[in-house]
């Protein structure tokens, strides 16, 4: 499976309970890759508008674009 699909499948598989994940959660998907390689995969997905960032201000998470509850609740979509 292509690296990008591994990420997307993981996120879709979890979508019923959680839409956002820390960077480390993706590192676990690629035990043979270093953090910098994993970052490249995620950055590419962000640039292709598949993923988007979510931030608490102090931390940042990744999720599928448009997923989650808050943006809808605040009328941002």
């Amino acid at each position: 499976m292509a690296d990008k699909d591994v990420v997307v499948d993981f996120l879709k598989g979890k979508s019923s309970s959680k839409s956002k994940f820390y960077f480390k959660d993706f590192q676990e998907l690629f035990p043979d890759k270093g953090p910098r390689e994993v970052k490249k995969i995620l950055t590419q997905l962000v640039n292709e508008e598949v993923l988007e960032f979510w931030s608490s201000g102090s931390t940042t998470m990744y999720g599928l674009k448009g997923a989650g509850k808050q943006s809808h609740a605040e009328g941002e979509d």
């Binding site: 960077f23 970052k39 962000v46 960032f53 102090s58 808050q70 943006s71």
Partner: protein, 437 residues
């Protein structure tokens, strides 16, 4: 006529200190008048509504803001902080009120042209309110709506050639003291190191992949005006190795009262005449100074470069010539396990551009922390959890007595197998030949 009555906030308009309430009111009045005839891109009366919601907080003693996870512009994982009001019907002008962080030049020198250009963008597309500056050092543009985020970013980058700062789990906007630009104590070019590293690590600043935030701060000397060793994960603090340079004639001038001590920082007459023995020699933390009535001497090998004597007699004493910096790692504010001060990792590093030796240390720390750090764990906490020895190991720095205040007071040493002759695989049969069961 103000949109909302603000009897409590009005009481913050009196007293001598500059009143932020008066200032927000002046912005509200300016926007109401709109002398430039702008087609304001977010509600014209948002400063009024900000005062309104703040007055409500003053009545109830509770905040009316909610966090928003929106991070802002496309492709970046930081630089915008989302905020929503929890009273949007009462204060529609600030219902959505997101913040943008703009990268400041290191040392915070500006020309009015830059500031006016920035004000013009924020006049049209934002609230007209800012923070000069945020705690980490960025220019903070306070309050706009989502559709304006990309527009502001486009204008910042295309019209002003300036970028956003950091937030979230990335490298935060680095900050430096004003350094050699106007300070005789600066042991290296803090602004340049800050600028170069900021440019070299733009990817780390905009695209988060760390366990948590990571801050660089650059202080030119141990006086620490940007608080690097208290506030940054990676603190570079100027220092030197050789003799403090002494101008004996100037020392005599201080003793004789011709020059005001401490650069004139004390005006209270109760301190009386300058007393070099009491004010300098006896206050030296290592007692490495001597004044014999005509000559001041310093035993350099005993000096810990605390800056007191130099601060007290800046015309007579100067920092040495063999200059560089110390690197301290792991400072953070108290949550969760208590505040941490930076711990000394590199006693001395020369600070010549392009700073490859400093960057080498940074990148080794990042590689380790990205691999081993837990979610939301600052590197100082990773150090505590996995040991200072581990940090030395990954940065390939040999342990030295400089690294500790004192050696350990327990003998529970974790030896490595290769440190013990013969290793840990032992010959039980041979042992039993010497010992019965």
């Amino acid at each position: 006529m103000a949109k909302h009555a603000t009897p409590l906030l009005d009481q913050l308009e009196t007293g001598p200190w500059p009143s932020f309430v008066s200032d927000i009111k002046q912005e509200a009045a300016y926007r109401a008048k709109n002398p430039k005839g702008l087609d304001y891109q977010i509600p014209q009366d948002c400063p009024d509504d900000l005062l309104g919601v703040l007055e409500l907080s003053y009545v109830e003693k509770e905040t009316h803001w909610k966090h928003g996870g929106i991070v802002g512009v496309f492709g970046y994982g930081g630089g915008v902080i989302g905020r929503y009001s929890d009273q949007p019907e009462k204060f529609p002008g600030v219902a959505h009120f997101h913040t943008m962080r703009v990268a400041q030049p290191s040392g915070k020198y500006y020309h009015s042209k830059f500031l006016r250009d920035l004000c013009d963008i924020w006049d049209l597309r934002g609230s007209g309110l800012t923070n000069m500056h945020g705690s980490t050092g960025d220019i903070v543009l306070l309050g706009t709506q989502t559709p304006q985020l990309e527009e502001v970013f486009f204008e910042l980058t295309h019209k002003m050639n300036v970028d956003l700062g950091g937030s979230g789990s990335n490298l935060r906007t680095p900050e430096a003291c004003l350094g050699q630009s106007r300070c005789e104590y600066a042991c290296y070019n803090t602004q340049d190191m800050c600028y170069q590293l900021t440019m070299d690590y733009q990817d780390e600043l905009h695209r988060p992949a760390f366990p948590y935030k990571f801050k660089f701060k650059f202080d030119g000397c141990p006086n620490g005006c940007v608080c690097a060793m208290a506030r940054s994960d990676f603190a570079v603090i100027g220092t030197w190795k050789d003799d403090i340079k002494i101008d004996q004639e100037k020392v005599k001038a201080y003793v004789g009262g011709a020059i005001k001590p401490n650069a004139g920082a004390h005006t209270n007459p109760k301190w009386g005449k300058f007393d070099i023995e009491a004010e300098v020699v006896k206050l030296c933390p290592t007692h490495c100074m001597k004044w014999d009535g005509s000559k001041l001497s310093i035993k350099t090998s005993e000096c810990v470069r605390c800056m007191h004597c130099i601060n007290t007699m800046p015309q007579a004493l100067r920092i040495g010539d063999e200059r560089g910096a110390s690197i301290l790692v792991g400072a953070k504010a108290p949550v969760v396990d208590g505040a941490q001060m930076g711990s000394l990792l590199v006693p001395f590093v020369s600070c010549e551009a392009p700073y490859d030796d400093v960057k080498g240390v940074i990148e080794k720390i990042w590689d380790w922390w990205m691999e081993e750090g837990k979610n939301r764990e600052r590197v100082g906490e990773t150090m505590k959890r996995l040991s200072f020895q581990k940090l030395l190991e990954v940065t390939e720095i040999p342990a030295a007595a400089h690294h500790v205040k004192e050696p350990r007071s327990n003998p529970y040493i974790f030896f490595k197998e290769e440190e013990v002759p013969g290793g840990w695989t032992r010959d039980l049969e041979a042992y039993r030949k010497r010992h019965q069961r």
